[in-house]
């Protein structure tokens, strides 16, 4: 299935450097419509106000974490089917299990490489 690279992608991280890195890596694989949010609450407001084909979010953020954001997204009738990739330094089994139970589409552990990001996006959007 061909991936529509013109879709809007929301990237969420409280580290501005990480937002910039992900944005540039996405640009290299031709995802040019990228919006940024600095925490879960900011992201949720942007998701509810706009139209996004993919969310790539960090976990450890305040006041709303990435996991809480995921739960909100999955509980929202309009947003619930949005592909959601977690990119986080949290690499314990229980984290991955919790994210999966909350309905994460894929999970990338930091530090990550561009190939992993591209593979996960293709996997997630290919199944969307």
């Amino acid at each position: 299935m061909a991936i529509d690279k013109s879709m809007n992608v929301l990237i969420v991280d409280d580290y501005k450097t990480m937002l910039r890195i992900i944005r540039n890596l996405l640009k290299q694989i031709e995802f040019n419509n990228v919006e940024e949010a600095s925490d879960g609450a900011d992201a949720l407001a942007k998701l509810r106000a706009g139209s996004f084909g993919l969310v790539i979010s960090d976990w450890n953020m305040a006041p709303m974490t990435g996991l809480q954001l995921l739960q909100e997204v999955r509980a929202d009738s309009r947003l619930k089917n949005t592909p959601f990739i977690m990119i986080t330094a949290e690499s314990k089994t229980e984290n991955v299990v919790a994210a999966k139970q909350a309905g994460v589409s894929n999970y990338i552990v930091k530090p990550f490489n561009a190939e992993t990001l591209r593979d996960k996006i293709e996997k997630v959007l290919g199944h969307a």
């Binding site: 580290y15 450097t17 890596l25 450890n60 330094a89 930091k110 561009a114």
Partner: protein, 219 residues
């Protein structure tokens, strides 16, 4: 064998434990100076004969009081309040500065990388484009160190703050705050070690123009 110490006055039926309980209710907080007071108060309420057991208990309470007083003096002499007043705030400020500096340097690297990406676009379809993009991709990946190290440093700062809170608790409990103990001797002449402080925090640092002005003032 007679196991009581004769005391003047009529014997009372009050058990020692109950009298200690009453006194404890009067001074619920742990006040080390009160321990000796408690012992004295207990003794003053005793109007009958003391059993050997009671005497031994009182001696132990008194010893405990002495130990606490001595611990208090030792803690005061260590000037642990300096740890919370100066050392830990200094360490956390330094760590915060590391996060700020790495963030700023990472943004500078990313900016140059974005320029290289723009150059790659200008030579689209060539071998040079591919090489440039491969190189920038590796730089983007490597730059995620700032996020990882930032998170690790945040954890260290949290640990330092919890140590600070615990020390504060100890200092408060033992009343060892500021100046009760013997201060370490103050160095009169600055040694070279005193001049080796590493990079300063931006708020306290002189910039190049300040240094230039200072140097010029000697002319």
């Amino acid at each position: 064998m007679h196991d009581t110490i004769p005391r003047p006055g009529p014997a009372t039926a009050d058990p020692l434990a109950r009298r200690l309980g009453e006194l404890r209710a009067q001074w619920p907080a742990l006040e080390t100076a009160m321990v000796a007071e408690v012992v004295r108060a207990v003794l003053s309420t005793l109007s009958g004969d003391l059993t050997v057991k009671e005497t031994s208990l009182l001696t132990e309470v008194e010893e405990l009081g002495k130990s606490i007083a001595s611990a208090k003096a030792e803690i005061a002499a260590l000037r642990v309040d300096e740890i919370t007043d100066a050392h830990i705030p200094f360490a956390t400020d330094e760590l915060d500065a590391i996060v700020a500096h790495t963030a700023s340097a990472t943004h500078a690297i990313l900016e140059s990388c974005e320029t290289l990406d723009a150059v790659a676009n200008e030579v689209a379809g060539t071998e040079a484009e591919k090489k440039l993009q491969d190189a920038t991709t590796r730089i983007y990946e490597a730059c995620s160190f700032q996020d990882i190290t930032g998170q690790r440093i945040t954890k260290v700062v949290t640990t330092l703050k919890s140590i600070e809170a615990k020390i504060d608790q100890i200092v408060d409990t033992f009343g060892a705050r500021g100046g009760e103990g013997k201060a370490p001797p103050v160095a009169v002449v600055a040694s070279e070690a005193d001049l080796l402080n590493g990079p300063q925090l931006p708020a306290h640092a002189m910039d190049q123009s300040d240094i230039d002005k200072l140097l010029a003032s000697f002319d």
